[in-house]
């Protein structure tokens, strides 16, 4: 669970890095170039399956654990407690589920289209690529979609905030000196990832 | 009078136990498998004995009243456990621990037993460390010691303020290991109702399952009673709510003699009583007396103002304070034994110098210690105790002195046992606080844990073999024998009788009344007329109980009121025996203080000529006066002196 989670986190960093290229180059050349590289490099292609497996593992484990956890308390309390010290820990299955739904829509919108559908090519000095960037820009012109996207990313951020330090705890990687640093880093990291992902649709919506 | 044989081995004091072990009978491994032992109680003595028997290969059945063996009241012991390791190099030795214990007990314990206790004390520490008990350590990695009342050396090992807990968890872990192995079978939430005696030997017990109310029969070749003390006869005590005297009382009525029933320890440092709804008293570890100074105002007018709330203790200047222990006992100061400290507090309060709203409290002050060592040192040493005090009293002991007052804590009396810890019923053994053996008329601090574990780990595993060695041809007992039928019938009848009274008053009402009689008339200071009065009052209260108690519900259910009623019915008989014993003993010794017998300075005045014996009471029948048998105490190796802590 924790290993899969940390692995997926590393994927987020790469994903965000490529996405941000849209903002730095309105011609979308950089982004399309990077997307092309990701779609054609054999190593990345192979890695895609590892990533897919990571997702599935993380989700299945999460669901199984949650079912076990629910059955561990067949009679609930009348007066619900709230003693949790890591606030978002309470909602991991909820944030996770919504992020999962988002993921399916996200897949349908981008991955499936890019992989199996047809995307108009665009030619730059450096060569001709599928204009995936245009697809992104068009989607984010839809206000409703932007709102959905922002909410999903916020939830992902909450998921990350608990998940990051939690993974270290589950792996037993704690230390009186370093654990506070890990916790602080996790929170800052989650905020940065969230802001980064949210910035893209907002910037596109308002200025493209 | 029955001639009581304590079966003390021959030879010089230091060689008695070695001699005993060298010549005792043993049971070979294949025979151990065929022998059953019942242990009642899972405290330090019970758990350690049961685990050891299991390790040796006996079939063991253990019974406890709690949901888990770990909840036994040994868990609440705070301060520490004594041993003659002499790690601090301050002059300790087995002999000195023995001597301090005998002297602390005011020369009313057996030399041979106490010497053995001191002798095995070191093994206990080794054993517990090997079990992973996290005793306090110094920076060099070696074990730390602190000092306790009644000793001039530091010989007390401790685990913060939770030594009893850690030692019990050690014994509990050993027990768990044996339960897992299958050599020990644990029966939780069972209360012993009767002892089964077949042809003069203890062969089984009748218990009540506290969940279903089912009455069960269990047989064995030997029965060990490790059921703790009976301090709850006073209603308010530091004992846990379920601690009770019923098991010892039942075996007394089956023929086991009761040793020194009146010897009760009143612990000097408890949180004072503060309301009539109160259910129990809380002990503040004796270790606090290492750094705390005990005082009351020197002038009555100050004390009166404090009681009215017009003056705070911190406003009383040094020269208007009376550090009465330091004044009266300069050599031991605040570390005098418990009985001495308790009586001194009572004396000051009776004389009108008491503090608190009731006037029944004295101060235990840490101001000097905090100045000398710093708050952090005091916090490290007693943090949890201070926190506990603040939770209960709502005052911060770092800023204002604690208020303390004596409270019933431990019963030195108990089932009479010989050197082998065997009672007058063959095959019935008693260990820990349940027996009377090692503390005489007063127990020193940190010695209860030592005795419980000594009995369980290092004494009973030897002596019980000596008994069982000639039982190897005795087959397992069926529980349909007439003796079992009869014992179960008696137990059932008593329960039915209690349920049938259907009067108007709750069990606790009677218990509270009994407690007041005991505290006022059979407490810290005892007088002939008062003890006689107590006997009559208890008899009357007993009659009233059996005609007016209300026990709701039925037997076949979880019924805590019925559990209490069974116990209180026994207390109402046991209390009378305690008063009788106190009346009979016309001297003051240790925790037993007869106002008529004191020195001019108000110290306990023993009468060695007439009372150097153990009172071993014998049951003679319902509503008949019990019979007093005497086991003379012979001091061959030490000189009996007036205790002096000045």
């Amino acid at each position: 669970m924790s290993l899969a989670g940390l692995f997926l986190t590393s994927f987020l960093v790469v994903h965000l890095g490529i996405n941000l290229l849209i903002l730095f180059d309105k011609s979308l050349e950089l982004f399309n170039q990077a997307a092309h590289f990701m779609a054609t490099n054999p190593l990345i292609q192979l890695f895609q399956y590892v990533l897919f497996f990571g997702f599935i593992l993380h989700i299945i484990l999460g669901v199984v654990l949650q079912i076990q956890n629910w059955t561990a308390r067949p009679v609930r309390y009348q007066k619900k407690g709230s003693s949790e010290q890591s606030y978002f820990s309470k909602f991991m299955i909820h944030t996770g589920a919504i992020v999962f739904i988002f993921l399916i829509i996200h897949f349908a919108n981008f991955f499936v289209k890019a992989k199996f559908g047809h995307i108009d090519p665009i030619t730059y000095d450096s060569g001709t690529y599928e204009n995936l960037g245009q697809l992104v820009v068009e989607l984010f012109r839809d206000g409703a979609y932007v709102i959905f996207y922002v909410i999903a990313i916020l939830l992902l951020g909450f998921h990350l905030d608990h998940g990051f330090q939690s993974a270290f705890q589950s792996l037993g990687l704690t230390h009186s000196r370093y654990t506070p640093i890990i916790k602080g880093f996790g929170t800052v990291f989650s905020i940065l990832i969230t802001l980064g992902f949210i910035a893209i649709p907002l910037v596109i919506y308002f200025s493209f | 009078m029955v001639k009581l044989d304590a079966k003390i081995p021959q030879g010089p004091l230091a060689e008695k136990w070695t001699n005993y072990k060298a010549h005792q009978n043993l049971v070979n491994p294949s025979n151990k498998r065929r022998l059953d032992i019942i242990v009642v109680g899972t405290g330090l003595a019970g758990a350690s004995a049961a685990a050891s028997f299991g390790e040796m290969g006996f079939n063991v059945k253990v019974f406890g009243i709690h949901d888990s063996p770990r909840r036994a009241h040994s868990i609440a012991a705070q301060g520490g456990i004594n041993a003659a390791k002499n790690y601090p190099n301050d002059g300790d030795s087995v002999y000195r621990l023995f001597y301090d214990t005998i002297k602390g007990g005011d020369y009313r314990a057996r030399e041979a037993n106490v010497y053995r206790l001191a002798e095995v004390s070191n093994n206990i520490i080794d054993q517990c460390v090997a079990q992973g008990v996290p005793f306090a350590r110094e920076y060099g990695g070696l074990l730390d010691n602190r000092s306790f009342g009644g000793a001039q050396v530091s010989r007390t090992f401790y685990a913060r303020g939770q030594t009893g807990q850690q030692l019990l968890l050690g014994a509990y872990s050993a027990l768990s290991k044996e339960i897992k192995k299958g050599s020990v079978k644990m029966f939780t939430r069972r209360e012993m109702l009767e002892l089964v005696v077949i042809e003069g030997r203890a062969r089984g017990i009748i218990v009540r399952d506290l969940i279903s109310g089912k009455i069960e029969r269990h047989s064995a070749h030997a029965v060990v009673l490790a059921t703790g003390g009976y301090g709850n006869v006073f209603f308010l005590s530091t004992n846990a709510m379920a601690s009770n005297g019923s098991a010892v009382w039942k075996v007394f009525k089956k023929g086991a003699f009761f040793g020194n029933p009146s010897f009760t320890q009143i612990h000097p440092t408890c949180i004072p009583v503060h309301g009539d709804y109160q259910s129990k008293l809380t002990l503040m570890s004796e270790s606090l007396r290492n750094d705390g100074r005990i005082w009351v105002p020197k002038h009555k007018e100050d004390a009166e103002k404090i009681r009215k709330g017009e003056l705070k203790p911190t406003q009383i200047p040094e020269d208007r304070r009376d550090y009465y222990l330091e004044r009266r006992y300069p050599a031991f100061g605040n570390l005098v034994p418990r009985d001495v400290a308790s009586r001194a507090a009572k004396e000051r309060c009776d004389a009108g110098f008491g503090v608190g709203s009731t006037g029944l409290a004295v101060y235990l002050d840490f101001e000097d210690a905090i100045k000398r060592l710093g708050k952090h040192v005091i916090e490290a040493r007693y943090g949890n105790l201070f926190q506990m005090y603040e939770k209960i009293v709502d005052e911060n002991p770092y800023e204002t002195p604690m208020m303390i007052y004596p409270a019933v804590h431990y019963t030195m009396g108990g089932i009479w046992v010989d050197y082998e810890l065997q009672t007058t019923i063959p095959g019935l053994f008693a260990a820990g606080e349940a027996n009377f053996s090692d503390h005489g008329a007063n127990r020193l601090g940190a010695s209860a844990l030592m005795q419980g574990l000594s009995d369980g780990y290092f004494v009973l595993p030897y002596t019980i073999q000596n008994y069982l060695a000639d039982q190897i041809r005795v087959p397992r007992f069926e529980t349909n024998l007439p003796e079992f039928e009869q014992a179960e019938k008696e137990a059932r009848e008593r329960i039915d009788k209690l349920l049938a009274v259907n009067g108007a008053e709750t069990v606790d009402t009677f218990h509270r009344k009994l407690g007041l009689i005991m505290w006022d008339l059979v407490g810290m200071g005892r007088k002939k007329e008062e003890l006689e009065k107590a006997i009559t009052m208890i008899q009357e209260l007993r009659k009233e109980f059996w005609s007016n108690v209300k026990v709701p519900g039925k037997n076949e259910m979880v019924n805590p009121e019925l559990e209490k009623a069974i116990r209180v019915a026994d207390y109402l008989e046991l209390g009378e025996l305690m008063a009788r014993d106190a009346l009979e003993r016309e001297e003051s010794c240790g925790g037993h203080f007869r106002e008529e017998y004191q020195t001019e300075e108000g110290e306990a005045l023993r009468d060695d000529k007439n009372f150097t014996f153990v009172s071993a009471w014998e049951y003679t029948g319902e509503d008949k006066e019990p019979k007093l048998n005497k086991e003379p105490l012979v001091f061959e190796f030490i000189e009996v002196k007036q205790r002096n802590y000045k």
Partner: protein, 250 residues
């Protein structure tokens, strides 16, 4: 002070339970929570009703018997104490207090507020000990132990086995309890010898008994009356992973 109590009543394990309201009057603010319940029970007995059953014994916060879930929190609103150490001055006059038993599948209700916690004993029996017999052990000072390690072991060993961690955890996980024992032995040389088998056996037993999983909510630490740290859970995780990785095939 006067209070309204909403108490879970259940005649026995097999029967259905429900909340029943009780009014109590003139409770002293100096009384403990359990003494307040004593007052109620004494009245119920006088009125011929069945008193409320609850576990309790030492009433000084060390035996671990008391186990009430008070207003949504195990052992009530104060930190670092058990129910028996909770005093009524902590509540307001006229307040309604909801009192429930510990809720977890491995802790079935016996009656009213009493639950069966023998699952904890079973976990200890799975390995919460050092497998030595009485006698024949080395001198207590033969193995020096760094003070820091002894203190850490003591921090963990302070567990009273009350089950508040399970009660507080949204997953009814027993990780804090199990890790306290595993951790105590993991830092002491005496316990190291069997450390690998111990952690695997105890965790397996815990899972078998139906406790939930740890999702690091840290509610256990917040509600533990002995304030045992979740760093012990991390230590157990570490011990467990390394034991799984390196232990030899049976």
């Amino acid at each position: 002070m006067d209070l309204t109590l909403k108490i879970w009543r259940q005649a026995s394990a097999g029967e259905k339970g429900k909340f029943v309201d009780y009014q109590v009057q003139n409770i002293s603010t100096d009384a403990s929570f359990l003494e307040m319940l004593d007052v109620l029970n004494e009245r119920l007995v006088r009125e011929g009703e069945d008193p409320v059953a609850f576990d309790h014994d030492c009433r000084e916060g060390i035996c671990g018997a008391c186990s009430l879930y008070i207003n949504g929190r195990p052992h009530g609103p104060d930190k670092g104490i058990t129910t028996c150490q909770m005093h009524m001055r902590r509540f307001k006059d006229g307040e309604t207090i909801v009192i429930e038993p510990w809720r977890a599948k491995p802790f079935p209700v016996i009656k009213d507020l009493m639950v069966d916690r023998t699952a904890f004993d079973e976990i200890i029996q799975a390995g919460g000990y050092v497998s030595i017999n009485t006698g024949g052990v080395p001198d207590a000072n033969a193995i020096p132990i760094p003070k820091r390690d002894a203190d850490t072991a003591m921090d963990a060993a302070a567990c009273i086995g009350c089950g508040a961690c399970v009660a507080a955890c949204k997953n009814a996980s027993a990780m804090l309890f199990v890790s306290a024992k595993v951790s105590q032995f993991a830092v002491l040389p005496q316990g190291k010898i069997e450390a690998r088998e111990r952690v695997q056996n105890m965790v397996a037993k815990m899972d078998e008994l139906g406790f939930g999983n740890c999702t690091n909510t840290y509610a256990c630490e917040a509600e533990c009356p002995k304030e045992i740290s979740v760093s012990h859970i991390a230590r157990m995780n570490r011990e467990y992973l390394s034991a799984k990785l390196v232990s030899q095939k049976e």
